[in-house]
Symmetry: C2
Subunit: 215 residues, 2 copies
């Protein structure tokens, strides 16, 4: 059987193909039965980092998702925990549209235990809140960390671990990472080793969701 | 790295090791990084098929899950879409407890579109209802089918396809299979080919959930 073709949308504009393909390469490493084609939205080199930039990005994500469907993709992954335009694209397209945020939240929800959300932005993404409901007990942002680059420095890692410990103190029995940038720096492994609870990685979660949904 | 050890609970009593290991072998085929040890509950050769047999099974599932945790398993999968005792075991154990029903419903929920539930029992399992909420638009049981054995006969397959078509007519854009017995007879592939919508297989869903949660 041929590989299943999936379009993956990056929500930051980059001419660097290695960076562009970073998440798609992970998805294919996890599930070799997928062929993932990554594309990025135009004119947003700084990506999505607040409500304004998310609003600007949404119609671009939707347009790219539609193009991917037309080009024969069997599913679209929006590789951003904020799930920009995922609801709109799900309604518009005939193929499955999979958002990183709702995939990660859904995996955590299966455990039926209190969940903490660790991200890089103050607001927990709406879809994550809606899926976790009363299981969402706390959220945190690593102090002094503004981008995944900061997370790669020793003080960034320390801040991330402190944020994780804070969530555990608040009662979290599992943690959802609400930023796909945390997937590429291995945040899941670092946190799991320290905290010994399930840490849900959004790129892994969206990969597994695509595999389960496409069958 | 060594394989992650997972205990898998079958809710029917059988001395037949091939039948006992049927779901566990699938989990390991899908995710070779897992070593799955299957065990069945005692004294229920007919498994769970109604409220009464589920009630009798629940304490046995809980006891088996506790034994698995003590024997060093890193997670427990309850391989039944009714998720018997999954909530209780989740609260009692320190390791993740993964139910087939909530795993399948959570995967479908990611799509954000109307979902139909196809099973072999009249009542949609509680956890599936709770997770799908307003996305659950209809449920169906193949006419004249009482067990997965019936589903392997030509008239059983016809009845299953008719039930799937009924769900699509009711607005379902995806279908959750609410019986793990449907996984072993390949119901997902048969339905997907005919209906061209995502069909969520509970054994695949619980496998992917375990992989996402264990990291």
């Amino acid at each position: 059987m041929g590989k299943r073709r999936i379009g993956l949308i990056r929500v930051l504009t980059t001419p660097d193909t290695k960076l562009l393909n970073l998440h798609g390469e992970l998805v294919m490493k996890y599930f070799p039965s997928f062929e993932v084609v990554s594309q990025c939205i135009p004119d947003q080199p700084e990506g999505i980092h607040d409500e304004r930039t998310e609003k600007i990005a949404a119609p671009k994500v939707l347009a790219l998702a539609e193009t991917m469907e037309l080009s024969g993709m069997e599913a679209v992954i929006v590789s951003c925990a904020g799930d920009p335009a995922v609801h709109e694209a799900s309604c518009r397209l005939r193929i499955p549209v999979i958002g990183a945020g709702r995939s990660a939240a859904s995996a955590a929800r299966i455990l039926g235990q209190p969940v903490g959300v660790l991200g890089l932005t103050r607001n927990v993404p709406e879809a994550i809140v809606r899926i976790l409901q009363d299981l969402l007990v706390a959220d945190a942002v690593p102090e002094g960390v503004e981008s995944t680059l900061d997370l790669m420095k020793p003080e960034g890692i320390e801040a991330m671990l402190s944020a994780g410990e804070f969530l555990v103190k608040k009662g979290a029995k599992a943690i959802v990472l609400a930023c796909t940038g945390m997937s590429t720096i291995g945040a899941e492994g670092i946190l799991r080793e320290k905290l010994s609870i399930p840490i849900i990685d959004p790129v892994k979660a969206q990969s597994a969701a695509a595999w389960t949904i496409l069958g």
